[in-house]
Amino acid sequence: MTLTATRPAATTARTMTRPRRPRGKWWLFALLALMSLLTVAPFVAMIIVALSPRGKPTVPVQWPESLTLDNITQVLSASGFAQWTLNSLIYSAVSVVIILITASMAGYAFAKKRFPGRDAMLWTFLATMMVPFQATLIPVFVLISNLNGVDTFWGLIVPTLANSQAVFLMRQFILGLPDELFDAAKVDGASELRVYWTIVVPLTKPIMATLGVFVFLWHWNDFLWPLVLSQSDATRTLTVGLTILRTEELQWSMVMSSAAISAVPCLLVFFLLQRYLVNSIAMTGLK
């Protein structure tokens, strides 16, 4: 019942395209296969180099005579690397939790509550989406630096929590939930917090899962803000750490190993949840 708002569109689209789609011609198939191989080839080459014994990678990449995990274990034990990974995890996980809570609360209020200034606030939020983060990078940095937040976790995390896309997505989803649910709960005398916890949170689980995955990927892959804000290994994230590794005298097999390790959480998320990711982009245009 909760998903009826989105379901009809999806099913009609499917039934309309289904009747007698012509089977693809072989050359279309070949072209598609070639394109797919081109996108995946760099990953394969990276993994081969990461698993090859140290030394100059043979070009073009060839399957090595023996595979080794030496590069991987050496990178993992290298100074800083484990710390950067942990920092990235903290940066991403804390942001996901807080954004999901604050965005679902605001989304609920914007969708189902009347309060003074609501529409003006929504309009302002919408307008801030047009301001690229890079344009406000300097004032945000000066602000955090004046609050002594440079090279701290709170300084790193807090400015990224103002995520208008998350609020809008939540609002759109909650708008589709029937008003009767909330009215009934209130007639039963439930407090607002209880309504939030027992109605809003359970019913928004699908959108929370999708949004959570995206926020995780955004933060895990984020670069410019961590670059200017983290200045020591204590808060440096993996993306920033990787660019330091690059400048040191390192063999490509090591660099490829660290790049491969850095991509593991993203690839894991992708392989476990790809249907989810793909459908949500198609439906909501989430970036």
Binding site: R23, G24, F115, M121, N221, L242, W252
Partner: protein
């Protein structure tokens, strides 16, 4: 009755955390950027209001014009490349049924990684004795110095960003293609329309909104490129890949001229705002 009276308060309370975050980290800095661009704020935190001085300096700054040119050239290469690749792969995915799911996953895979990751892998591919030159030498075309050539560096960077990001636009276009009723195609086929005619007079017009959306978001993203440039070229060779964002970063965090860096930021803001307004004009509100 009681809850209706309580509504304004609870509504505001639920919005409060997001509201505070937005005021402090989005709205205030947006106004702050405009204000800072009128000062000579520097690393020590000292500043005077210098009025339009920064804008005059910007106007006379060859670095700024060069970076604007680089950014526009980059966009002129990246946007058509990405839109064509997304459209092409979406059309192929829509036409081929066998193993479609696998192909879609393979094409979308790079999207979940970071631009830093993409930059590192492709630096290795573009290296003088890297993967690309290895292949080119095999067919007697190489070697070429991709990232050291001021004419090749922007196309090379555009390829990296396209590889990393086209999967998203591809999915948007694929959803648009799937929404086109099959009966239209059927009717056109019965009338003897060729594949090209069907594409031109049915697919393209009906795909227009999705195509326009993709065009706008890819244009905006082309103005925001930074990570791959930082990792792969550092703005070089000879500033051939020195984009607007790279300029903001270097002014702010290498020379610590915060006021002047904010001026560069205002230009970026103006460009992105113009693109967003055009988008809104064509698509209407609520289609973000």
């Amino acid at each position: 009755m009681r809850h209706r009276l309580r509504d304004p308060v609870t509504g505001l309370l639920f919005v409060l955390p997001v509201l505070v975050l937005f005021l402090i980290f989005r709205i205030f800095p947006t106004l702050g950027a405009a204000g800072m661009s009128l000062t000579n704020w520097n690393i020590g935190g000292e500043w005077d209001v210098v009025g339009a001085d920064n804008y005059v300096r910007l106007w006379n700054d060859p670095n700024f014009w060069a970076s604007l040119r680089v950014t526009l050239v980059y966009a002129a290469i990246f946007v058509p490349l990405t839109v064509l690749v997304s459209l092409g792969t979406a059309l192929l995915l829509n036409a081929v049924i066998f193993m479609r799911g696998l192909f879609r996953s393979m094409l979308f895979l790079p999207y979940v990684t970071s631009f830093v990751f993409a930059g590192i892998i492709w630096r290795w591919i573009y290296e003088f004795d890297g993967l690309l030159n290895g292949l080119l030498t095999k067919i007697d075309l190489g070697p070429i110095q991709v990232l050291e050539s001021s004419s090749l560096v922007l196309p090379a960077l555009a390829v990296v960003s396209c590889w990393k990001g086209f999967g998203y636009s591809m999915l948007i276009l694929l959803a648009g293609l799937k929404a086109i009723p099959g009966s239209y195609m059927e009717a056109a086929r019965v009338d003897g329309a060729s594949a090209w005619q069907r594409f031109r007079s049915i697919t393209l017009p009906l795909l227009k909104p999705a195509l326009f959306f993709v065009l706008v978001i890819e244009t905006i993203s082309s103005f925001q490129v930074f990570d791959t440039i930082y990792v792969m070229t550092g703005g070089g060779p000879a500033k051939a890949s020195y984009t607007l964002i790279y300029g903001i970063y270097e002014r702010g965090f290498r020379f610590f001229e915060f006021g002047y860096a904010a001026t560069w930021g205002m230009v970026l803001f103006a460009i992105v705002l113009a693109i967003s307004l055009i988008q809104r004009r064509f698509l209407g509100r609520g289609n973000t």
